[in-house]
Subunit: 168 residues, 2 copies
């Protein structure tokens, strides 16, 4: 099966939009927009994030052992676009978009997200062009109000509404 | 960090709803509803699905080496509920819900999805209570029309609408 066919299929797997961040030993931040993030286990609390091996985030996370997954609210589309590289900004300059704080573990945490998870890198699994980062969640930042998530699917940013009742 | 806090946070990571299926050597089908699925690499075309080690699907996939990920359209909520175990149906009986076919690799493929991926199990990584199934995608079934995906987030089934324009 060709990669074009695969890409066309994957456009149809909608998912929440996140920004995966880390910080290097000199205190320089990096981050990228990712939808390839999912829950793993509740015991221990853990998640999976898949990032390209060639990305700066992959290298920094492997060195620092910490990362954060910031799950964006629907009004944070502009921040998603910056960290997807659309504005052509260099690593540190991207953080001018959004209200960023240093998390307890050092990785940048964005205010106003639906939820942000700080993680300690538990294991890394290499596959093809990508790394599977397995993060043990060390801290969860949940926004008190029920904010609608930002979703990416069919090549567009989307938000959610209640599903119609299923047919019997 | 406690598992309650983690669970509350994970409710906020919205994602597309899938049914992960497989078939055992006696031709018996199994499947479960999962949101912990994401794209991995385009080279080779691959994806990740995280399933509980105690599930029948985990055991069957490890033995058969094949599985399918069926990405549900918003009108397939009733099928999602059956495969989430809400109807209390046994393994094979669940397949009365929805229009199922045998995929080229054997694993059950649901008609009318946004997309269904047939996978050969490339690697398995155990972590905590779960398995990370790494699937090399062998066949993609894409629905021609642009159907809205079924999303699960904040403990509810949702569907998508266009996101409002982001603030400048």
């Amino acid at each position: 099966m060709g990669s074009e066919e695969f890409r066309a299929g994957m456009r149809k797997l909608a998912g929440g939009v996140t920004i995966v961040t880390s910080i290097d030993q000199d205190g320089r931040r990096c981050g990228l927009t990712a939808t390839a993030v999912c829950s793993l286990s509740t015991d221990p609390p853990s998640l999976v994030a898949c990032v390209n091996r060639a990305s700066s985030v992959a290298a920094v996370v492997e060195a620092s052992g910490v990362f954060a997954v910031n799950v964006l609210a629907h009004e944070q589309q502009a921040v998603a676009e910056v960290f997807a590289g659309r504005a052509g900004l260099a690593r540190e300059d991207r953080f001018a978009a959004g209200d960023w704080q240093h998390g307890a573990g050092g990785a940048p945490v964005l205010a106003g997200t639906c939820v942000s998870f700080e993680c300690a890198l538990a294991e890394v699994k290499e596959f093809g062009t990508h790394l599977i980062l397995i993060g043990r969640v060390t801290k969860t930042h949940v926004t008190p109000e029920d904010d609608s998530p930002l979703i990416y699917g069919n090549g567009a940013f989307l938000t959610t509404t209640s599903a119609p009742q299923a047919a019997a």
